[in-house]
């Protein structure tokens, strides 16, 4: 006796019924191997049924370089604008100028990445055709439009030394909107059926805020003289720790979807890289970063790298969770079972 499945003809085994047992014949289709051809089954794999192991949802068509890249750059831009306003208000002109220029550069690259990712880049302006509260991407498009105008005004004034009033207004506007730019992307990716992103929605904004602050602090250390960056070292250490901590909390609270981090070789590598880079950045910032400009630059670069790697890890883990029906079916089955239990 044999069954025909996607992985070939298989020997029949005694009926291994999935959740919701009780019927006689039908056997559960069990995933035989991981998508990437590995023969190691995921640890603690709950039995579930599926259609030839195919995914339930269609995975995003977003490209990692563009979209994970934007999650990082948008965070850097938003948080840098907050840093710029803070530096300006507390008399750190070099840091303020560097943060403003960094913010404008990062948001410019963000815009390019976002347009490049569209299936029809020539229709990019259709993003401003409507304003829809049900779409974080729609709200985000308007937010980006306002933020980038403010950021450009702030940096242009800072670099040229002209139009000080416009520059001040831009600095305040960019700082206000920038905190939203750094965190709305969490709502954007969470507002999907992708298990890792949706189930992480409670902690994703805090992970993103910390990651953005860490990147902005890193940029400050990298680009401004050490006399003005004591605050960036403090911010970098706190935000770097918060970034690593918040992402761990997020994984713990997302249920079985967290296993997708282990299942995806890319997510695993990026996460490791994020831990190492952010850890190194924190260590240097806490020690030699105070005295040496070279060390400060190294710490800043490490924090920036760590923030970017964290975004790529979250992106790739989400992709892996979308590709495996297990992360869609098992939590929904558990939900149904719990509901049935509480109702009857």
């Amino acid at each position: 006796m044999s069954d025909v499945t996607r992985t070939g003809i298989q020997q029949a085994s005694p009926a291994g019924e999935a959740v919701g047992a009780g019927r006689p014949g039908p056997r559960a289709f069990r995933r035989q191997a991981s998508r990437h051809g590995g023969e190691t089954p995921v640890v603690g794999e709950a039995e579930f049924r599926s259609y030839y192991g195919l995914p339930i949802i269609n995975k995003p068509v977003w490209r990692a370089g563009n979209i994970a890249g934007y999650l990082f750059l948008g965070g850097l831009a938003g948080a840098s604008s907050v840093v710029a306003a803070g530096a300006q208000a507390t008399g750190r002109p070099a840091l303020a100028r560097a943060a403003k220029v960094g913010s404008t550069a990062a948001i410019g690259l963000s815009g390019a990445a976002l347009v490049h990712d569209l299936g029809r880049p020539a229709r990019a302006l259709n993003m401003l055709r409507v304003l829809k509260p049900t779409s974080p991407m729609s709200l985000g498009s308007w937010l980006l439009a306002g933020f980038s105008s403010c950021s450009v005004a702030a940096s242009t004034s800072a670099v040229t030394g002209r139009w000080p009033k416009l520059g001040k207004a831009g600095t305040i506007g960019a700082a206000t909107l920038g905190s939203g730019v750094a965190t709305y992307t969490a709502a954007l990716i969470s507002n999907t059926a992708v298990p890792v992103w949706h189930e992480g929605y409670r902690d994703m904004p805090f992970t993103f805020a910390a990651s953005a602050a860490s990147a902005a602090a890193g940029w400050g250390m990298l680009s401004a003289p050490i006399q003005e960056t004591s605050s960036m070292r403090r911010l970098g250490i706190a935000a770097g720790l918060a970034e690593l901590g918040a992402s761990e909390v997020m994984k713990r609270r997302m249920g079985i979807a967290a296993e997708a981090y282990r299942e995806s070789p890319q997510a695993r590598r990026y996460e490791q890289a994020a831990r190492v880079a952010t850890g190194v950045g924190i260590a240097i910032a806490a020690t030699a970063g105070r005295r040496s400009r070279t060390a400060s630059v190294a710490a800043g670069a490490a924090l920036l790298t760590g923030s970017a790697m964290m975004r790529f890890a979250i992106f790739e883990a989400g992709m892996a969770s979308a590709e495996n029906p297990r992360y869609t079916v098992v939590p929904q089955r558990r939900r149904l079972a719990q509901r049935a239990q509480s109702e009857g």
Binding site: V82, M127, P136, A186, T192, Q332
Partner: protein, 284 residues
Amino acid sequence: MGDERLGGLLGGSDPSRSSGYENPSSRMGFFTDTSVCIGCKACEVACKEWNHVPEDGLVFSGMSYDNTRGLGADTWRHVAFIEQKVARPPSADGNRSGVRWLMSSDVCKHCTHAACLDVCPTGALFRTEFGTVVVQEDICNGCGYCIPACPYGVIDQRKGDGRAWKCTLCYDRLGEGQKPACAQACPTESIQFGPLEELRNRAGARVAQLHDAGVAEARLYGEDPSDGVGGDGAFFLLLDEPEVYGLPPDPVVTTRDLPRMYRRAAAAAGVLLAAVAGAVVWGR
């Protein structure tokens, strides 16, 4: 219960009225009764022909008679084939095992609370006067947000075109008082088209009939207005668990959690402002 539970940014239980139509037509949909599907794929062919849906790869999947594999930009009807071993009354040689074939024609669910429509940033996706969900191909800029938003894996981006495509429930035919092409072509009336209320009544009667005939595993999928998507405009009679057909057992529109996501994002933005302010002020 439905609307109260879903709350927040979601519309009411009548999607056309919630979208602003003052006198919409009655909500139209599909009832796909898989117990009479014979797997002929006439629906797949009729859909492709009528809607000019391009070819999407001639591959051998090894999945029974299904080389289509699933819904996507270039597959708006998909017939699933499932082969299951079942116990049978013993035959002359004492063999008790047999095979049953499940066949089911899958399609866009035209949800009451449609995530694809909610997240679309350009307004390309819209609700029709029939309560269905359609993409305007002259507006879509291929941002791709609708694709991971759909809890069923229906809509996708067309390669080489860049825009998102899915079933329109033959919007053009409905406007002329015609049935969608798939329902027109279905030789066994497995695909039934009509006003949703009428289809729900018909489906209830069909399940009762099957239960009376001893088919205890017959169940409806997507007909319940209190489910996580407010009920489907295209629902099904299945003979096994939904996931066996590649359908999610308990789909929820992601928009249900969006108010909480916005609140968390706003709180995180506040923390970011406070943290930076603290860092620059402390030690001055």
